[in-house]
């Protein structure tokens, strides 16, 4: 019997149709429209002009640097902080279930709601953060108004919101580790640090790789939180690639916006794909 006969290819049609119309076809046609000036009705072919413009204006190409800083810092902080929290929450402390829920919950709150709240907490004169800083004798900080600092303030908020999901992925990974390793280590007289370095860290590698990839791609695509906290400002200090796409769209430069979109998806593919390959190959060794 030909086993494939049981499984009709028709079952794939609904997914393929929806995914093609609303994802694949736009993706392919964006390569063409990025070479034009268009208004959804007529288009004029302009060659690489949109890309030339993108890379000649600081307000546009500056977003690439901001995106990279944002993605690598949020991802890196989550990888490290979540690991520390996960190790604490897999120890024998009594409140671990409660703490796990608390750390995780911000994930379920919309980025917009988090953005509104943290923008208020970071208010330059009245915000709670500055009251605390003044209380312990440090001066005020203009969290979101200082162009050199604003991006990092948003990064801090992103880590606050996203560290929980990374933590539960680590916890799942740590709980998969065979208890026998730890028992053997105890018999050999290993201390806590040695157990962590020689057992937990190497064996939690697959979970760590998932976190790196997920949070990096999330960071490279991020828009909601930045848009709600700073709107890309002050000036263009916190503009990321996704916010440039939106700004150019809102201003009516559809061709330029599409070019920005194409640059964004090429860059993400160029970073994420090789990284995933590399991490997987290391995992298999």
């Amino acid at each position: 019997m030909n086993k494939n006969k049981i499984y009709s290819m028709w079952f794939l049609i609904p997914s393929i149709v929806i995914f093609s119309i609303f994802f694949l076809i736009p993706l392919v046609s964006s390569l063409f429209y990025s070479l034009t000036v268009w208004d959804f009705k007529n288009f004029t072919f302009v060659g690489l002009d949109n890309f030339k413009q993108y890379f000649s204006q600081k307000s546009l190409y500056g977003s690439i640097k901001n995106t990279l800083i944002y993605a690598f810092l949020t991802s890196g902080s989550k990888v490290v902080l979540a690991f520390i929290i996960a190790v604490l929450l897999t120890s024998k402390i009594k409140t671990k279930d409660f703490l796990r829920s608390i750390v995780f919950f911000p994930n379920l709150v919309s980025s917009l709601a988090v953005g509104v709240t943290f923008a208020a907490l970071m208010h330059p004169t009245k915000g709670l953060f500055n009251l605390v800083l003044e209380g312990i004798g440090l001066g005020r900080i203009d969290w979101l108004g200082n162009p050199n600092l604003a991006l990092y303030s948003v990064i801090l908020t992103d880590v606050w919101k996203g560290v929980g999901i990374a933590t539960v992925i680590y916890i799942a990974g740590i709980q998969c580790i065979d208890k026998g390793y730890y028992e053997a280590a105890d018999i050999d007289g290993a201390n806590g640090w040695q157990r962590l370095k020689c057992i937990t860290i190497p064996l939690v590698r697959p979970a760590m790789n998932s976190i790196i990839i997920l949070s990096l791609i999330g960071g490279l695509r991020s828009f909601d939180l930045i848009w709600s906290m700073t709107g890309g400002g002050p000036g263009f200090a916190t503009d990321v690639m996704a916010s440039v796409v939106y700004k150019q769209y809102a201003a009516g430069y559809y061709g330029l916006s599409t070019a920005g979109n194409v640059i964004m998806l090429v860059l993400i593919a160029a970073i994420a794909y090789p990284l995933q390959r590399y991490l997987l190959s290391k995992e298999e060794q």
Binding site: N4, S15, S257
Partner: protein, 276 residues
């Protein structure tokens, strides 16, 4: 041994304190300020309200002709619609993609998995939706959300199919069961655990989505709850009490979901990530 116990108690205390200041205070801050009168809320302090202004919530709902109620209805429709379509289309796709080991299915699979990594091309999507006359409609929004969540959902179903025994299907087929019934009455019920994960993850993602409604559903009539908050940010710049009341209103559904499905959500999210 007693030293270790003491260490654990210290761990408990430090953990609770840190969690309180870092993760709970912001939520307390939202709640308290949503219950203050305007002038007091604008001070952005973390104290109990002088008088509890519960009417803030009524005012937020009444604002611009009960826009928030419409928005809730729209968000619920979009969320429920997307989740239902995703369950139907992606479970079928994941089932066939896992069972048929052919070149064509593996190509289709790779094409769909592109969407896990690459962000959508937004303006061409708007263009196509205008052509189909579904731009700025709830239906169009549902289709976009479905397309964007399809890769992840197919991946979850395909992964789960690995653990579903194939013998039942072969036996059913030999007994003359049609392929549609085979799937509908034998396979789909077995997918229940992963379907629960799919419902929760996609419901959270779609309900909290801000960027896609911003592009594909502009205009007050079709606002989603996230868009109302965005509009309020502009209008209520000097009424933090109303702004935070809105924040609380749109966060409560997630809190309820979390309290009911706590374990399921956490397990689902970590399992989904690790399989990817």
């Amino acid at each position: 041994m007693s030293k270790r116990k003491r260490l654990l108690i210290i761990g408990d205390i430090v953990g609770i304190l840190a969690a309180f200041f870092i993760f709970i205070v912001p939520f307390v801050f939202m709640l308290l300020n949503s219950l203050k009168e305007r002038r007091e809320a604008n001070l952005l302090r973390l104290n109990l309200p002088e008088v509890f202004a519960w009417e803030n919530y009524g005012e937020v709902f009444r604002h611009s002709n009960y826009l928030l109620l419409t928005a809730f209805k729209n968000s619920m429709l979009i969320t429920a619609g997307s989740v239902i379509v995703l369950i139907i289309t992606c479970s079928m796709a994941g089932y066939v993609l896992q069972r048929r080991r052919q070149k064509i299915t593996s190509i289709i699979n790779s094409l769909i998995m592109i969407g896990l990594m690459i962000p959508p091309a937004i303006l061409p999507t708007i263009f196509i939706m205008q052509d189909l006359h579904i731009y700025k409609t709830i239906f169009g929004m549902i289709m976009v959300e479905v397309a964007l969540q399809t890769p992840f959902t197919v991946m979850l179903y395909r992964g789960f199919m690995n653990s579903v025994p194939i013998e039942l299907e072969e036996a059913g087929y030999i007994d003359g069961c049609t392929r549609a019934r085979l799937y509908g009455s034998i396979v789909f019920p077995l997918l229940k655990p992963v379907t629960a994960t799919v419902i929760i993850l996609n419901a959270v993602n779609v309900f909290n989505d801000f960027m896609n409604p911003l592009y594909f559903l502009p205009g007050a009539k079709n606002a989603t709850v996230q868009l109302t908050l965005y509009n309020f940010m502009g209008q209520f710049q000097s009424s933090y009490n109303l702004l935070f009341a809105d924040v609380i209103v749109i966060t409560v559904p997630m809190l309820v979901l979390f309290i009911i499905f706590n374990k399921k959500i956490v397990e689902g999210m970590s399992a989904g990530a690790v399989k990817g």
